[in-house]
Symmetry: C2
Subunit: 332 residues, 2 copies
């Protein structure tokens, strides 16, 4: 089977062959294939949103996705939760010498499919090859450009605003962990890796009172809620009973002493919206396959210490701190 | 000395500390520091140019620069040679567990300095940490956004068009190679790593007949000339005697049996311009410190096989093929 060699990163004939045969054939679009040092795209009117992410997930293939799908969805989602419509992404590959072409092709195919689904074009790319042992198969960077078509999210919270999660939490984290711990029993755990463009559009179409959206990836729901409070003078009360968790994720977490609130998600969003609009946002989410398990899980409370509290099923309130240390390296 | 740990890539408290203390303090600008999932930038009117590159150079510090300076200049230059004014870049880091904070800080400082010099803002970032042995210290991806303020380069060549190089060739390649081969003698070789924004602006201001600009990085002058011919029906004759090469680069190449025509540059550009405008472009280049050694090195000839020929100092013409195989991995 053909393998990646250092020559594929040389900028010479082999690099060109890889680009033409693999990347251009899957990512095919006229902007990319013009093959200039920079790609030219026509003027975009409106405020632009820009985000960048490198993906180093291990393993590179997992139930529900692979590093390619993740690299597209992850960047698309960062644009979506900023209130932007994703338009373009770039894709830069760091490949390890000796990587088989077959998984590489699967990953590239997967990126092309995810990009098509999210209606983004892959307009620029780069390939570097490093010596065996200087990478772990493949790392991918994607950078996304989108445009604000609706309103700019205020990022300002008001007491009584409702905190909505678009579905069950911890699916991606539990899935990756189950594949990494080499557990001897079979699980049905599957990553939730998906692009959120359709549901963020629905939310913004139906409500003009969305304050903040975030996708709770690394660090999970608890860490992301803490982060979004950083520049506010409010706090959040989360109702433990209301937080949707799949039974298999909960069992997996119970088994290993983990908390789904801190486990990564790759196809979920947090939406904080005015109390008045919360029911219609929830109902819009319920009508989409990716939002079927959406739930109101908490609310903004008048506590200027910008903390996240959890009202447990027993009725006690405890503080939910941001994650510290490293639960699982290379989750995304 | 403090070192990078896996916790710095967790998305939790340690990640946040690294972002705030290191990246924000050097890259400080209001767009970046708002710290959303995506950064919002005001509408840009005009055609946009977008480019992405990952940098895996080894060693990460070398005479004339480091991986940080290279990551900024490399992406800035891809925008410049497309005829665009660079505006924004993103910076995504893959760090190896155990990397010392001290070189990391030097690199970040170096990026901030290079960005300031090239008048670009670093508006979005990402940090991932991989386990020891899964990276080589640090890899950086930069993605650039620029705007076409002048005219769009035609990319069409006419017979008689002149090929200009902005300075001596092979400096970066020879410098990196000298540091990698662990040569026992001292050399004065220095990378030419610099941003080309000022000289591309001068060129475009003075001539409206620039056909193509390219920066001859990986694969060197010979490979880049071959690439730019790919979609044309013309060929190029290069005059060997006219190609500027520093004496120390030539000696180094002679010693190792290398050809400067295939060695990487990181602060040089090829400009193909109409014969009428070639003298004034050359003279504009000569007036800038980065263009002092600029020279007309060849011309477009009516040969539809789109090949690059070299008229040697002995008067013979031989074909200059694109690079094949791998001269030196991780040159950029």
């Amino acid at each position: 089977m053909e393998r990646v060699t250092l020559a594929h990163g040389s900028g010479g004939i082999e690099s060109n062959r890889l680009i033409n045969d693999l990347f251009f054939s899957y990512f095919n679009n006229e902007v990319l294939c013009r093959q200039n040092d920079a790609s030219l795209i026509k003027s975009i009117s409106g405020t632009l949103a820009v985000t960048t992410d490198s993906f180093v997930v291990s393993p590179i293939f997992f139930p529900g996705g692979d590093i390619g799908k993740l690299a597209v969805c992850g960047t698309v989602n960062d644009l979506c939760v900023s209130g932007a419509t994703p338009l373009y992404i770039t894709a830069a590959f760091i490949l390890e010498e000796g990587l088989n072409m077959c998984p590489l092709e699967k990953i590239v195919y997967s990126m092309a499919k995810a990009a098509k689904k999210a209606k983004v074009k892959i307009i620029a790319g780069d390939t570097k090859v490093v010596e065996k042992g200087k990478c772990d198969g493949i790392y991918i960077n994607t950078t996304g450009i989108g445009v604000l078509e609706g309103y700019e999210l205020s990022q300002k919270l008001e007491v009584g605003d409702q905190v909505i999660i678009s579905g069950t939490i911890g699916d991606h984290g539990a899935c990756i962990m189950s594949k990494r711990k080499h557990l001897s029993f079979q699980t049905s755990l599957k990553s939730d890796c998906s692009s959120l463009d359709e549901i963020t559009k629905r939310i913004l179409d139906i409500s003009s009172n969305v304050r903040i959206m975030r996708d709770p990836t690394r660090g999970g729901l608890a860490t992301t809620l803490n982060e979004l409070l950083a520049y506010t003078d409010k706090s959040i009360m989360v109702y433990e009973n209301a937080v949707p968790v799949k039974e298999e994720v909960q069992s997996f977490c119970d088994l290993l002493g983990l908390d789904p609130l801190y486990m990564a998600n790759e196809g979920k969003l947090i939406c904080i919206v005015s109390k008045e609009d919360s029911k219609k946002v929830l109902s819009a989410l319920h009508q989409h396959p990716l939002g079927q398990d959406a739930a109101i899980i908490g609310e903004i409370i008048p506590d200027s210490s910008h903390k996240v509290y959890l009202k447990t099923s027993l009725g006690a309130a405890k503080r939910l701190s941001p994650a510290t240390g490293e639960l699982l390296p290379r989750i995304c």
